[in-house]
Symmetry: C2
Subunit: 417 residues, 2 copies
């Protein structure tokens, strides 16, 4: 089947799916979970072939780990389907409603987008998560995974599509792009008449590729160059705990902190302590001259920070450090180097907190809390498909509501203008 035909089928199926009620959709999600449990052995065989080939192709251990499924991980994927089934259905929610002076009744109602294409890299769990989140919100989904997980994605799609079909949903609501070809991806990105939204999950290279080629609206779940700013009024114990947590608890994720900004007034008291604590946790530090002057020689050594370091999302045990003379300087630094993801201030001063929250332009601002909290689950929004750093449509966790649009339904009794 060619890509255009596949997308046209998804569009047609999306019309029927849009009118499916929550009971029907949840039944399909639970059937998908059961099918994953039941066919685990088959899936693991296919996945093992991907892993073997990946090793042959020289994938890094980290990438192999992302690719690898085992019984426990597969059970976790099935469990996440059941969790999604248990969430409330956003479709049909009346977001607002009122009556005009002329007596027209206006309702703004939450509706599915139609067809969502998810473009992602190695992790096969995304195949199932993305399909489930789209299906739950009444959207047909086109899945285009990375070529390293090709066999895993193919069998996973086959298993969940079969289950959805048996549960009574139209068979075309989940489409797998059966090609590793980039030209096919490019074709997908032109199909504005059939695809309503594209969500990339991957690094900056994927984002830039879509930026270049997509004619379909895109929500970017992009990288995070996140900062912790320790204000002059900070509780330094909180500042220490939050800095360590934001950097070290899981350094490979987008809401981990990459740069520490410290107000000059507390730098002499705070920097020696935080540098030592970070170094004990094997964090490699890139520091400005003022930090070095305050901290002196250390073992291991401190590296000299350049703008390149301040602009880097390390996603590893590395951190840049800088002393600033004011909250405004911290805000300006974040405006220059930040990616609008998650930004924290540690302060006891109400006005400093207010100003930071107002002036910093990011999806999530933290006052005396770790940047690591930016997460749909933690926020209580349920499963999410990624964190949006763009301002159009949805900013922050892309949970169920963010996968919907709205329409106005206006009722009169012969009203004319």
């Amino acid at each position: 089947m060619d890509t255009r035909e596949l997308a046209a089928r998804a569009k047609k199926a999306s019309r029927r799916l849009a009118t499916a009620n929550a009971v029907e959709k949840n039944r399909a999600l639970l059937a998908m979970a059961d099918a994953l449990d039941r066919r685990a052995a088959e899936i693991l065989v296919e996945n093992q072939e991907d892993v073997t080939e990946g090793r042959k192709n020289g994938l890094s251990p980290a990438l192999i780990d992302r690719l690898l499924l085992d019984e426990e991980r597969l059970a976790g994927i099935a469990r996440s389907l059941r969790d999604i089934a248990a969430l409330p259905d956003p479709v049909g929610e009346v977001v607002a409603g009122w009556r005009t002076p002329e007596g027209l009744e206006i309702q703004k109602v939450r509706v599915p987008f139609g067809v969502i294409a998810v473009v992602y890299e190695a992790r096969p769990n995304v195949t199932v998560d993305a399909a489930a989140l789209c299906l739950k919100t009444g959207n047909a989904v086109i899945l285009r995974g990375g070529s390293d997980a090709y066999r895993s994605n193919r069998i996973l799609t086959e298993v969940i599509t079969g289950a959805a079909l048996e549960a009574g949903l139209p068979g075309d609501v989940i489409q797998f792009v059966p090609s590793k070809d980039r030209a096919v991806l490019i074709e997908l990105l032109q199909l504005r008449e059939y695809i309503d939204l594209i969500i990339p999950r991957g690094g900056e290279a994927l984002k830039d590729f879509l930026l270049e080629h997509s004619k379909v609206p895109v929500i970017y779940a992009a990288g995070g160059n996140c900062h912790v700013y320790v204000d002059q009024s900070a509780d330094l114990k909180q500042a220490l705990d939050i800095t360590i947590n934001a950097k070290c608890q899981r350094p490979g994720v987008c809401n981990a902190a990459e740069t520490l900004l410290v107000h000059a007034a507390v730098a002499p008291a705070f920097l020696p302590v935080v540098v030592k604590a970070l170094q004990e946790r094997k964090v490699k530090l890139y520091v400005d001259a003022r930090t070095r002057d305050i901290v002196g020689e250390t073992e291991p050594r401190l590296y000299r920070a350049t703008d390149k370091h301040y602009a880097t999302e390390f996603l590893d045990l590395e951190m840049a450090v800088k002393v600033v003379d004011s909250l405004q300087e911290a805000v300006d630094h974040i405006a220059r180097f930040g990616t609008g993801h998650s930004e924290a201030i540690i302060t006891q001063d109400l006005e400093a907190a207010r100003q930071f929250a107002q002036m910093v332009d990011a999806a999530a601002i933290y006052i005396n809390a770790s940047t690591r909290f930016t997460d749909g689950g933690v926020y209580g929004l349920g499963a999410e498909i990624g964190i949006s750093t763009q301002k159009l449509h949805a900013r922050g966790p892309l949970a169920l509501k963010e996968l919907t649009s709205t329409k106005y339904v206006v009722t009169g009794r012969g009203h004319i203008r």
Copy 2:
């Protein structure tokens, strides 16, 4: 000043504007209105030059009319500024707020986008309206009007920018692109680092141009191929009034109806009446064979409808007509030819109304009301910058709230993960 520099200045100014409160912004809007009144004579002189040149260049009378300002129209523009000043400021609204089980306090707060570029065609009133709506919502604005209104737009921008500056806003919050060059527009569309959103106001050609070139997120205020469907259960008096209103009250606008769909069960009773009424109002009709069979010969004559007619947004006293055998056939026709703008059903049957509202994928669905109601003012949302037919971010009238994004502000007391 080159385009990049201009956009960079707008971005910088937007940071300060984002923290301006409603009193400051409204003071500027009122000052802008007063300045328009005070400098009316100057503005009309410049506008007259545009009109003279437009006539020389062979602009149609309709386009000349859109271009033309007079004292009354200018007073109307100033009045719309005062109306916008009187609307509530959406910035700072807490859209939602809750506490997580761990005690984190989460607020989702409405914030400006930053910099919005508005790209539009001849009408000079858009210059002032767009600037006012953006300023009210804390966004810096880059105005790129059509070359036919170049002098009018330049003087209008100068007058309102001067007034905003005197009222204490940063001078760079309103930027006028001082070039008629398309290359400059293309450059604007690449400046993702400075421009947060582009809103085109114009026809399909402008939309397609942006689609091709823009790397910045866009909200399309696109055309409307709107339908009136007369169900078998319709009150035929309502159906007649609504059809005439939707087609004839103002045929040149995007929410006017272009096609009439009539259920076969009521076609014999309804079609002769509606055809006569439309023809009396000088509407040229393109009809299918069944309509012709029912209505017979008329004076003026009926034309044969083709798919081309069903796909056309006439924006004039022309209408396509088709008999359908079911609500489903009407829905399918609308899915094929509609542009997702405004779609009406005339019915007394609750289940038909429900199904039509659910199955038709459009910004606004009307039950027993004219499509002509899709309008920010009529909905009670206040002034708007256009009607969005896209599903991302905002669908329907783009009023003040739709010109904002949100951020999460999360407060803890040393919370770590």
